[in-house]
């Protein structure tokens, strides 16, 4: 299910729609079967830079076109559509399957589980094609996992850009995640006033 724009798309008009990339929790993005660890983060960029192929892209290992990308968001979002820019020469992914709000999925899980939605992709080198979601199922997405099982015949799969269109709801699903707690006491964290030089307490 793709939709073509019926107006001449000026970058600033469309880019605001694709702004969900700001809500992606980039440090926690991870991918399986990537050739260069950490390269998954490079595919999330503003709409204007989607064709900027001078930077890194996500590439799978030699001879194995499967890719699995785990994308957590900083708050719950509603996803309307997804855009993918793949590589040339048959390295574009041909299928995409999405899983919502599950972390720690690996390839055997992905292959056995029923995806929330599946798409057949086409080679889309300028990113104007978007793949719509069944909006009702994508209403409160804290994390999405995209599984690309196959490509158009290339040796590896390459992805240069992944964009999400939708809205952010400012609701946080998992509040406890960012708490740091002590399992073993660290004396430097517990300096008393005497150790740190003393002083009179101040009342303002």
């Amino acid at each position: 299910m793709a939709c073509l724009h019926d107006h001449s798309c000026e970058d600033n008009d469309c880019s605001s729609n694709w702004s969900l990339y700001k809500h992606i929790d980039l440090p926690k993005v991870s991918a399986l079967n990537e050739a260069v660890p950490g390269s998954a983060k490079s595919v999330f960029k503003p709409w204007e830079h989607r064709l900027n192929s001078s930077e890194e892209h996500l590439e799978s290992n030699e001879g194995d076109p499967e890719l699995l990308v785990y994308i957590p968001f900083t708050s719950d979002v509603k996803i309307k559509s997804i855009a993918i820019i793949g590589g040339t020469d048959g390295t574009s992914p041909s299928k995409m399957r999405a899983f919502i709000n599950r972390d720690g999925i690996d390839f055997s899980d992905a292959q056995n589980m029923q995806a929330v939605q599946e798409w057949d992709l086409v080679e889309n080198l300028n990113g104007l094609l978007e793949f719509q979601t069944r909006y009702a199922k994508f209403q409160s997405v804290a994390s999405i996992t995209l599984h690309f099982p196959d490509n158009f015949g290339g040796d590896t799969s390459q992805i240069h850009y992944i964009g999400f269109k939708g809205e952010a709801t400012q609701l946080k699903r998992d509040v406890v995640a960012t708490i740091v707690y002590e399992l073993m006491p660290n004396p430097s964290d517990h300096k008393t006033k005497a150790e740190s030089g003393g002083g009179f307490s101040q009342v303002e």
Binding site: L32, N61, D64, D103, F107, M184
Partner: protein
């Protein structure tokens, strides 16, 4: 301080009864596993470790990944040795156990102790390795025991398939010599990829390295003292002998066809010296002198038992090879008996040199046989040999 879930695969097959690691392969392995668990849980309090055994009727998971060190150590008791190791099933079960770990933020790691032959072929191991790499699981392989039926190539192939980004390691520990746990302590398996290492492992490794003879003076002061005294004595004698050797060498090297051999031997010894860590420096200096001495050695029977020489010591392979080459080559050359050969064949010289080398047990039967063979050939020179009083090297 990497947050990690580790599964340790223990080899409890029949081959573990072998005594080439003291007291037995299985005990040496168990010690290494205990130390490893301690190091992992100490380096990060949220790390978890699990254990499974690979041999016997089936692969058995003794404990799923847990951070409770007491539980891990207690399940190492009462393990039975028997059957054949099933490497492929062991790794796959370990992968499954890691998949179901409670904290999905932990990195997955499998540590395999492979001390017996591997039945699976290279292809199968490579597929397993690729699957691990695809699911971002690191694999450490500890290879010990004999190398038979291409075990080394198979494990190397597995390692090559699984290694991504230097997060996996393969360690080979040859039999005889250092225990598995001491050999592992300085490797990245213990210290974690390139970090400073946990305080536990670093302290243990530093402690072991400070003592020249691998013997803690606190544990056994008399032995440490005796070894140190004999080392001093021997060094004094060596220096005197080396000076004489240098003079002889200057004279003899002119006509000898062995100049290139000398160069390679010296080169090899120099390389050994460069690569050695600090406590080994004096050992290698001795080694170099011994090699220089053996260059002038002649009149020894070239039919020295090659197998015994190979088995004699593990760290001494340079010395053994040097002796072998020089003996064979001396049979071709025809220089006269020099003082150096007498020194080399002196029955107490060899034991004292060997005793001063860490990791060599002079009471080892194969070492004794080797010494006997060397001594047997020098009986004539022994009677003439009055100017080198036998020193007590023990």
């Amino acid at each position: 301080m990497v947050l990690e879930a580790t599964m340790i695969c223990i080899d409890n097959s029949e081959w573990m009864r072998n005594g080439d690691y003291s007291p037995s392969r299985f005990q040496a392995q168990a010690d290494a596993v205990n130390l490893l668990c301690g190091a992992k849980t100490q380096s990060n309090p949220e790390n978890t470790v699990g254990i499974l055994t690979m041999a016997g009727k089936q692969v058995r998971v003794l404990t799923t990944p847990t951070s409770d060190l007491g539980k891990i150590l207690s399940c190492m008791h009462g393990l039975e040795v028997g059957g054949e190791m099933n490497l492929s099933a062991g790794i796959q079960v370990a992968q499954l156990a890691l998949k179901h770990r409670q904290n999905k933020n932990q990195q997955q790691r499998i540590i395999v102790f492979a001390g017996s032959p591997v039945q699976y072929d290279k292809k199968m191991l490579e597929t397993i390795g690729k699957k691990l790499k695809k699911n971002n699981v690191s694999l450490d392989i500890v290879d010990f025991g004999d190398d038979e039926e291409g075990k080394l190539e198979k494990l190397d192939a597995l390692f090559a398939a699984v290694n991504s980004n230097e997060s996996s390691h393969i360690i080979h520990i040859p039999p005889g010599g250092a225990a598995i746990s001491t050999a592992l302590m300085s490797t990245p398996v213990f210290t974690g990829d390139g970090e400073g290492g946990s305080g536990f492992a670093a302290a243990a490794a530093a402690g072991g390295g400070d003592f020249d003879f691998g013997v803690d003076p606190n544990l056994d002061p008399e032995l440490a003292l005796a070894l140190r005294v004999s080392m001093e004595e021997e060094r004094a004698r060596q220096e005197a002998a080396a000076k004489r050797a240098a003079d002889e060498a200057a004279r003899q090297e002119k006509g000898e066809p062995s100049n290139s051999q000398d160069a390679t031997m010296v080169g090899k010894a120099a390389e050994a010296t460069n690569n050695a860590s600090e406590p080994m420096d004096e050992v290698n200096a001795l080694l170099q002198q011994a090699i220089a001495l053996s260059m002038e050695n002649s009149g020894s029977d070239p039919s020295v038992h090659d197998s015994e020489m190979a088995e004699a010591t593990n760290e001494d392979q340079d010395l053994a090879m040097a002796l072998q080459i020089s003996i064979q080559e001396a049979a071709k050359a025809s220089s006269s008996q020099s003082d150096m050969s007498k020194v080399l064949e002196d029955p107490s010289f060899m034991p004292s040199v060997l005793a001063s080398l860490p990791g060599v047990d002079p009471d080892d039967p194969s070492v004794k046989e080797l010494l006997a063979s060397l001594q047997g050939q020098s009986e004539q020179s022994k009677q003439k040999n009055e100017d080198n009083p036998p020193s007590d090297g023990k």
